[in-house]
């Protein structure tokens, strides 16, 4: 069992497991964010719960970060190995004849998503950590000294999307996310060895997921931008 991560199939299985985990996280992230469109109050309450509940903060959050790091590092490890597997390239290669653009460019869509995550951490995660753990303000209020000032989460989110460039960057990133998912979803299932009578249906579901979720994020960003 220990050697499994040294084998090609073990690695691709691990890649798939981390992907499936990240896709579940993404769905969860989206479900909460979309609340911000319909009900700022519910959004605030859920955000506050997620931001302060110990199991989320001290168990799920580290796992998630590890998952993200693992997925990226393993992605690079595999990419390097795969590049070494063909040292001289074809003078003419007609990749589109046999495979989708998405499947051939996972490393690029992945890198775009990585860049986005850096931005996203800079935008939300770093300030959040700063407020909660460095300043020690666990209240979640706009003004920690004023109980009536209300939760800060929706305000912060809404405010961030005032900047048009940020909205554009986010939307572009979501497009890459969609491209990544369009191949990644069904690929993850194939890697785990799942290829049976349910695969067709699952592929359809995967396509829907890969389009609807990123599109939803785009919608949320645009919503906040244009409701200013």
């Amino acid at each position: 069992m220990s050697g499994i991560l040294n084998s090609s199939i073990g690695r691709k299985f691990a890649m798939a497991l981390s992907a499936l985990f990240l896709m579940i996280f993404l769905l969860q992230h989206f479900s909460i964010n979309i609340l911000s469109v319909f009900s700022p109050d519910t959004f605030n309450e859920v955000s506050h719960f997620m931001g302060t509940f110990w199991a989320v903060q001290y168990v799920l959050q580290p796992i998630l970060i590890l998952g993200v790091i693992f997925h990226f590092v393993m992605g690079f490890v595999l990419e390097i190995r795969n590049r070494n597997a063909r040292k001289i390239n074809y003078a003419k290669n007609n990749g589109s004849a046999n495979s989708s653009w998405m499947s051939r460019n996972m490393i690029w869509s992945g890198l775009a998503i990585l860049a986005f995550i850096v931005l996203h951490f800079y935008d939300f995660w770093a300030p959040e950590i700063n407020v909660k753990y460095f300043k020690g303000d666990m209240s979640g209020l706009i003004d920690p000294d004023n109980v009536d000032s209300g939760f800060r989460y929706w305000e912060e989110l809404h405010h961030k999307f005032q900047d048009m460039w940020r909205v554009i960057l986010y939307c572009v990133a979501f497009i890459f996310l969609s491209l990544h998912l369009l191949h990644g979803f069904s690929s993850a299932f194939q890697s785990t060895g799942m290829n049976n009578k349910y695969s067709k249906g699952l592929q359809g579901f995967g396509k829907a997921y890969a389009i609807i979720i990123p599109l939803g994020f785009v919608f949320i960003a645009l919503f906040h931008h244009f409701t200013h």
Binding site: S7, R81, R86, M106, Q190, G193
Partner: protein
């Protein structure tokens, strides 16, 4: 038809190699691609030049000798055929055709368009068999009935001709379709069960040692495979491998 050919020429494994242009005329659309190369070679020989070396033998699509990356695709633009069964009617008068060897670190070039695919053999040495000695008294062939669907699937997997188009087409030069097909054939038959664990572990280990890349499920192999070997075989190998790893 008159054609321009851009062909990879490389004198031997240590030579650097380069693309060379050739003009060829009066090609009949009924010729096979290799017959077209025969015509070119005959011209080269009679001119005192070195003919283009390429692998070929049965010329009926079953031995798996012929290879060639033609216009950016393994075995050329047609589907479900090897290069020897690719016909010139797939091309138009005046076309330029780029012809390269199958590229992969695990398939080093021997000369021109010929590559060394013995890495495939070594993967099979590691476990591509059922350990049964030859004797006149193995159990009767009908003693173990085999579910027809499994038998048919095992056969479909077994029709792999080991040409290496999967590796050549894969952007990662992965050999998983080839290995998956072999693992599947035995995994689907009751006779293959006894050694299933060791077989998949050993074959995958050898595959990794040969320097093939990792599968990223682009599906290019399945599309370019002249025998239509299905991606299901890779999924089945993944399952078999994970099962075997858990068993130890």
């Amino acid at each position: 038809m008159n054609l321009t050919l851009k062909i990879w020429r490389q004198a031997n494994a240590n030579d650097k190699g380069k693309m060379v242009d050739y003009k060829i005329s009066d090609i009949s659309p009924d010729m096979s691609f290799l017959e077209m190369l025969d015509v070119l070679n005959n011209e080269l020989i009679e001119k005192g030049e070195q003919p283009v070396a390429f692998d070929h033998d049965c010329r009926e699509g079953i031995c798996g000798s012929c290879s060639l990356y033609i216009n950016g695709e393994a075995h050329g633009p047609d589907r479900g055929v090897t290069t020897c069964q690719l016909h010139m009617r797939m091309f138009k008068d005046g076309d330029t055709i780029t012809i390269e060897p199958f590229r992969a670190t695990a398939f080093p070039v021997i000369k021109d368009l010929i590559v060394d695919r013995t890495s495939f053999d070594r993967i099979q040495h590691a476990g591509g068999f059922i350990s049964v000695n030859t004797s006149g008294n193995t159990i009767d062939a009908n003693a173990i009935p085999v579910n027809k669907h499994n038998a048919d699937d095992a056969f479909s997997a077994a029709t792999c001709i080991g040409c290496g188009a999967c590796v050549a087409s894969c952007k990662n030069s992965s050999a998983m379709l080839f290995v998956g097909a072999k693992v599947s054939q035995f995994a689907l038959l009751p006779q293959g069960q006894v050694e299933a664990t060791d077989r998949v572990l050993n074959m995958v280990k050898q595959m990794d040692e040969e320097g093939f890349g990792n599968c990223t499920n682009t599906g290019a192999c399945e599309v370019e495979c002249p025998k239509g070997i299905s991606l299901e075989n890779i999924a089945r190998m993944n399952r078999e491998y994970l099962k075997a790893s858990l068993k130890g």
